[in-house]
Structure formats: structure tokens, C-alpha cells
Amino acid sequence: MSNANWPLWEVFIRSKQGLSHKHVGSLRAADAEMAVANARDVYTRRSEGISIWVVQSNDVFASDPNESQELYEPADSKIYRHPTFYEVPDGISHM
């Protein structure tokens, strides 16, 4: 049996209420419902999640790795964007 015609799906799982869905992997399926069913069987066997999203891999538009210099490197020199210059008063915990 060939699965050459089955599209690829990206799978996102929410591990518990309040957290966001996280990318966990990909799989092949004929349609969206089958993709969710397969994701349930492949990625939630050990109670990893309570909600599943699937997105066809074709529908994901990604940034170009060749542009990483101009996209990401300029941020490296902008240390003032990190809130590390505040003095934390005594007695404030959990910071």
C-alpha cells in the first residue's frame, strides 16, 4: 500500500489547561479527522495531552533560513530589550 498521496500534517498538543499547544511532530493522514485520530494514537498514548491541533504542513509558511542574518542577528546587540537593568528591592521573591 502506498501513502504517497496522503498529505503531511503537523501536530500540536496542549498538555494541560492553561498551557498553549506545542508542536510535537508530524504524521501522514488522508484528511483532518484521520490526522487527529492518528495524532491521538501516536502522540497521546502516555497521557501527554488533552487537546490536539493538526495543520497541513503545506499550509505552514516559514521564514527563510537564508535570511537569518538580517532577521535575527540585529536583536543580539540590543541587550536593553531584556528587563535586566532593574534593581529588585529586598523582600521581593519569585523574580
Binding site: N3, A37, V42
Partner: protein, 250 residues
Amino acid sequence: MNNNLFEYLLRLGDDSLIIGHRLSEWCGHGPILEEDIAMTNIALDFIGQATSILEYAAKVEDKGRDADALAFLRYEREYRNVLLVEQANEDFGVTMMRQFLFDAFRKPLYEALTKSTDAQLAAIAEKSLKETKYHLKHSSEWVIRLGDGTEESHKRAQYALDTLWRYTHELFFENEVDQALQAENIAPSLAPIRAEWEKTVNAVLEEATLTIPQNGWKQQGGRTGLHSENLGYILAELQYMQRAYPGNKW
């Protein structure tokens, strides 16, 4: 000991054990990786159900046997599963059709058993029902996709239905065991369960563009221990270790 309850538990437990074993035969042979995992997960659900049910059966029998002794050391004619669950896997279409026809029966049966006056049986049904709802969804989706898929998949799905239909009548087998347990509200009447089974089966098969065979031939025997030749082969594999190395544990 309650002979009727023991007999009834063997029916439930053996159905789960044998269909679970059949599904486990797909391990490593699934048509795609995801489906291989799905079938193995479902096989394990059934083996888990068989374990709880046969453990309870052994307790009801009270003759010093445990679930393993019931699963691995009975002879063919002592098994009470329906003929449907022991039928050969053949191709994926036959396996999924067999699964669907069985799951559509199991779901309303477990729903009814959650109201059993036997607390242990009701608890087992409650736990198993959640698994069974997913099994039915899984097998229904496949029957629809195979039936209403390509010309080849439709042909094979129709063949599967034509081959297996004769075994579905036995799902609703009832005798004095059921009558005795129904009088105490331990077991439900199968008539309303059959009505619900027909509703599910008709709806899914219609969506799958499959035709129910008109041939009225009904095959039965499993509930009274008269099995097809398939069960002998299953038991040979299932029981080999315990027969060759009695009492062996791992």
C-alpha cells in the same frame, strides 16, 4: 458459585481476549505506522478488559483458577466467544469490518451493563465503555473511508461485509443463562441492544456506500463452544508457552 454469572463473564471475557489477540497479530504489519500503533493500542485495551473480566470470572468460579488459567489453559470447546471475533484478519478491510461490527455491539452492551446490579460488572463496564467509544469511532471512520474510497477499497470492504455478515446474528445469542441474569438485572436484554446496533450499522454502511447482503444464512456456535477452525490456530499460538512450560512466569 453462580454458574450463570460465570458463563456470562466467559462470554464477555473471551470476546475481548480473542478479538484482542486477532488485532495483536497486526503488530508490525499495519498499513501505515500510525495505524499499526492504533491497532496495537486497541488490542491492548481488549487484553486489559479480558484480564479484568476473567479475573472476576475466576473469583466467581472460586475453584482456585486465576485469569491466566482461564485464558491459557482451557480447551477450545470451553471458550465462549462469538464466531465473529475469531475470524481471520485477511486484509485490513476485513479486520476493520470485523472490528466495526463488533464495536457497534459492544458499545450499547457496555452502556447497559453500567446499570447492572452486579457492582463489579458495572464498574468493569464503566471503565471499558470509554475505550469502546473510541474503538467504535476508529473502526467506523475506516469502514466509511474504505467503502466510500477507491474502486479497489470499496470492492474489498464489500467483500468483508459479505463474508462477515453471517456471523453477526450470533452477537445477540440468548439462552437460559441470560434469562436468569436478566431476572436479577445483572445482564441486560439484548433486544434493545440489537436495535441500537442496527441503527449504527445501517448509518455507517450507508455512508460507506456498502450494501448489506440479502442472503439470510446465519452461522453460530461460539457461545456454546462450537467454534470455527480458526480458534484452534489462535489457541495454539496463545497457549503454546503455558503448555510447553507449565507455570512459567515472566
